[in-house]
């Protein structure tokens, strides 16, 4: 009767099966809501030639930026990159390939990948470099481009709470890309702050139903803040 208990107890188990050349979809926005321990495990595993699909690529020495140190990433699919010197250097050296994708299109590509929708039309990027080479179709007189979905061999996700069945909830804006990433992995691994007993999560309030999740691991998060901005003492608008 253990078929639905998805909790694993080591990071080795969590990322078991990850191989060179695979595609990894990662949740997170900047350093917010990233699966810190799973990224560290990929670094430990020294897996190479990875295609990583994530809105950003972390910073020098933290988040996905860690995977740049040993040149584990072959290609990034992202909307905004280059917050780190190492990224810039590898890109200029031609050691790293980048496929820039509008943020909303990236989110929708992941969702579509998980939802069995191989392609969708969007006005985003029409007439820009993003639209080059893509099929164009008019709907109600407006041109749209065809974007294809994304799926990954692995999805690595950071959640706040999960039960053993893999039902997840996310905290504040640490939600971001995580729910879509969770749907789009052949193997979806979720690193959580807290594993709660079955029934502790309200069924109608679950962000990621357990059906999408293969493995859950309890993590320990640093939660580094990328841009610490405080209200002015007085008169803040």
């Amino acid at each position: 009767m253990s078929g639905f208990n998805k909790v694993v107890t080591s990071y080795e188990q969590a990322m078991e099966g990850l191989q060179d050349g695979m595609t990894v979809i990662a949740g997170g926005f900047g350093l917010c809501g990233i699966p810190e321990g799973l990224i560290a495990q990929i670094k430990t595993m020294k897996t190479k030639e990875l295609t990583v699909v994530s809105n950003n690529c972390g910073v020098d020495g933290f988040g996905l930026g860690l995977l740049l140190e040993d040149k584990q990433i072959k290609k990034m699919v992202s909307s905004y990159v280059g917050e780190n010197a190492l990224f810039e250097q590898q890109l200029l050296n031609g050691e790293l390939e980048v496929e820039l994708t509008p943020q909303g299109t990236l989110a929708e590509k992941m969702r579509a990948g998980g939802a069995g929708i191989p392609g969708f039309y969007t006005a985003t990027g029409y007439g820009t470099p993003v639209g080059e080479g893509k099929e164009v179709k008019e709907f109600n007189g407006r041109p749209y481009i065809l974007e294809e979905s994304i799926t990954g061999d692995f999805a690595i996700v950071k959640a706040w709470k999960a039960d053993i069945f893999g039902n997840c909830v996310y905290r504040h804006t640490a939600q971001n890309f995580n729910p879509m990433a969770a749907t789009a992995g052949k193997i979806t691994v979720v690193e959580v702050e807290e594993i709660v007993p079955p029934g502790a999560l309200e069924p109608s309030q679950i962000h990621t139903p357990g059906i999408y999740v293969n493995r859950i691991i309890q993590g320990d998060f640093e939660k580094r803040i990328e841009r610490r901005v405080l209200a002015k003492e007085q008169g803040e608008g």
Binding site: F29, Y80, Q103, T128, T173, M180, I225, R227, R228, L230
Partner: protein, 218 residues
Amino acid sequence: MALSRDQIAMRVASEFKDGDYINLGIGIPTLAANYVPEDISVMLQSENGLLGMGPYPTEAQIDADMINAGKETVTAITGASIFNSAESFAMIRGGHVDFTVLGAFEVDVSGNIASWMIPGKLVKGMGGAMDLVAGAKNIIVTMTHADKHGNSKLLEACTLPLTGVSCINKIITDLAVVEVKDNEFHLLEIAPDVTIEEVKAKTAGKLTISNNLKVMAF
């Protein structure tokens, strides 16, 4: 005299109507939040998944899980909602956001905008800008009228790679308020002590002076 960043932001904020949902880009657009007229309320959308963005946090409020699209720590107002990135861009792409305000390198008379990429320089990415310009009902571009070398940013045709086509309605610069319509720029308002000649000189695209040209007051 050319407007200050805060004056541009002030003029932007005067466009807002009570009940508007607004997405503000980084830089001058973000400043506009400080000048929302007191008799109206607007709600700010941050494309990383927050509707009802509040001010920056105090030291006690700071929370690593609570950031804006610029990755800055932020707060949420009472009545805010927080959601995933697909939902956030469903709102944006689906035209539910009333106003988007963002910066640009160039705008042209066709309403095209270039704001994300300068060939030869390192390209960091478009983030959500392409989605925003494709989706918002009204887009206001804020920028200086000319670059630091005096070259116009209001062109007959953009020269840089585009962010979006035929999408810009209005441009608020340090010199003027310009509407983009019928393949022309229309000068609607001019900054105090700025001459029409200066605006003309710094506008490369075709410029028509409105019959009701107004001088902005602050």
